[in-house]
Amino acid sequence: MGTAVKVKTITMREAIIEALVEEMERDPSTVLFGEDVGKFGGINAITKGLYEKFGGQRVFDTPIAETTIVGAALGMAITGLRPIPELQFGDFVGIAFDEVFNKLGKWRYMHGGQMEVPVTLRLPVGIAGGAGPEHSQSPQALFMHAPGIHIAIPSTPADAKGLLKTAIRDNNAVLFFEHKLLYGMKGDVPEEEYLIPLGKADVKRVGTDVTIIATALQVHTALNAANTLAKDGIEAEVIDPRTLAPLDMDTILASVRKTGRVLIVHEEPKTGGCGAEIAAQIAEKALFDLHAPIKRIGSPDVPIAQSIYLEQFYRPSENQIIEVVKELLEY
């Protein structure tokens, strides 16, 4: 954003609440629901105040029934509402997988393009302090294989707000993944209203020696690593795709062509993570620009232990990134 933009410093939680409030004020057809999102304000306090502001019909607590939550969102969407359901943990998307993958993603297409599916499904994800194998995952990569589904995964308060507003206005299904450890993270957010388009990556740091593509919390790990590397004279470019579908390969490829070296970092397990598809596209479209193998760092391909001691060995670390970048530079 240009220097003239007036900003305020707020947390990602606050940024998300702002986006929800602004869009719900703007469009009376929006409706928000999920478990404990009403009076209680959500277990991550992301919907605090909305029940009071918009009333119990537009902001309502549901039974514990994730399949029904997502299916109902589809029914609302094709009959004139703009639903914004929440699953308490993104891991639970498995319970509504058919509803997301086959219904939200395909309803419009398979019925000949006659209906619109303006659903924004919010999914808190990530390893965040001893929550164990079914409350810590980052399942976003699965949906890159789902025609009809958009995937947003912001790393900063500003991106979260701008992307969420766009997602809500979009007439297609958007899965909105929020890393729980980012909720409390602060950042500059423009005072004025703004939108961030889906499908536009953000270069979070400009560099010439290596391209690091990272998502969510890992954008920050990558930026920290880049700053450390800079002390050794290594300039890493850090790219945050911000949405995995649509995926802004143009920005990624331009960087790769410049640096010739690629590292992809994400919190989901390495095998089948978003890095697989990104690496495959680079290997298809920019192979001869590469000076080194394409590297990926993800969590190990095992379920996430509940122990907070062991948990730390999953999430990619600054050190791992630094090591791999140095390795890449040896080619």
Binding site: T67, I78, M110
Partner: protein
């Protein structure tokens, strides 16, 4: 426990033209089906087809003269019965089967499921039977929030009723007092499995709904007028904001699960009894004639008119072109 819905109905409670309309609609559905099967045999239509012959009364009884264009339905996978009763043009349904651009999907093709006509409240359907359970509470919540009196009707078979989402759906519909009418077309079979082999119920499937405090009943689905009465009451309740109703309509299928099914798992005598003595069209026709509401000739005329209409529709559907191959790249995103 779910009650058995019974009611003395006098033909004279209905206008003659409506009675003829019910007859006509049922005949239209049956002839549509028979001609579709012919088209399959001629090799013009592929994929699965689940014939709806034998339960036309469930659809006509629950839709004709009751539901408006703005009311929503989720049809089931058996027959196109409900789509036709809801007014989707025949040429468009045939077009979907034939894969021509006349179809509601403009050439993408659709079998029984995936035709849609939102202008008539036909919002499409899932390939996974029973998934409509959770979608329908969304359409009903939507109507309620928007302050309309639109009713959402959800059709499904006895087999689909065993899917887990039924529970989430009944709980939501009862809890938020949603304008949903559940119509279970219980034909005693899910493919090869009998109702008894795959269901645990106190007495009837409708008892499942009872525990939610949802008005529920069992009705002879092959009596088109009985269906009219029970559904009218349910729709009225829905419009008044009194919440959902669960109707188990008992019926039978005259043909196998899909075209090509040997259908050897059903007792011939039982099947014959349904065909001979409980065919909804035959029975209704008999009643009309016995009560001298019309002559054999009047009805023959109806049959012929419908036959003509069907042929015309097929012609329109067949004469429309197939789509361009790049049709598959259209319409994914809005």
């Amino acid at each position: 426990m779910a009650e058995i819905y019974q009611k003395e109905i006098k033909l004279s409670d209905y206008r003659k033209e409506d009675l003829i309309k019910f007859y006509r609609e049922m005949v239209k559905i049956r002839k549509f089906d028979e001609h579709l099967i012919r088209l399959m045999h001629e090799g013009k239509v592929s994929g699965f087809y689940h014939s709806g012959i034998g339960s036309e009364s469930v659809s006509v009884g629950s839709i004709t003269n009751i539901l408006r264009d703005e009311d929503y339905i989720f049809y089931n996978h058996r027959g196109c019965n409900q789509k036709i009763a809801k007014g989707v043009p025949l040429s468009k349904i045939y077009g979907d089967f034939l894969g021509t651009v006349e179809g509601t999907t403009r050439g993408l093709g659709a079998g029984i499921v995936h035709s849609a006509d939102p202008s008539r409240g036909v919002l499409g359907q899932c390939g996974t039977i029973g998934s409509q359970f959770n979608i329908v509470v969304g359409t009903a919540y939507s109507a309620k929030l928007r302050g309309t009196d639109q009713v959402s009707v959800c059709y499904f078979g006895d087999g689909a009723a065993s899917r887990e989402p039924l529970h989430g759906s009944l709980n939501w519909a009862g809890l938020y007092k949603l304008p949903v009418v559940y119509i279970c077309e219980n034909n005693g079979y899910a493919i090869s499995s009998t109702f008894e082999e795959t269901h645990s119920v106190r007495e009837h499937l409708a008892d499942w709904a009872w525990g939610y405090g949802i008005p529920s009943c069992v009705v002879d689905g092959n009596d088109v007028l009985l269906m009219q009465e029970v559904v009218k009451e349910a729709v009225e309740r829905a419009k008044l904001g009194e919440g959902p109703t669960f109707i188990e309509a008992q019926t039978f299928r005259h043909r196998g699960h899909f075209e090509g099914d040997a259908y050897d798992y059903v007792d011939k005598a039982v099947l014959n009894d349904w065909k001979e003595n409980r065919d909804p069209i035959k029975s209704f026709k008999k009643k009309l004639l016995e009560n001298q509401y019309c002559t054999e000739n009047d009805l023959l005329n109806v049959d012929e008119e419908v036959e003509y209409e069907i042929h015309a529709a097929i012609k329109v559907a067949e004469n429309a072109p197939l789509p361009e191959p790049n049709r598959i790249f259209e319409g994914l995103y809005a």
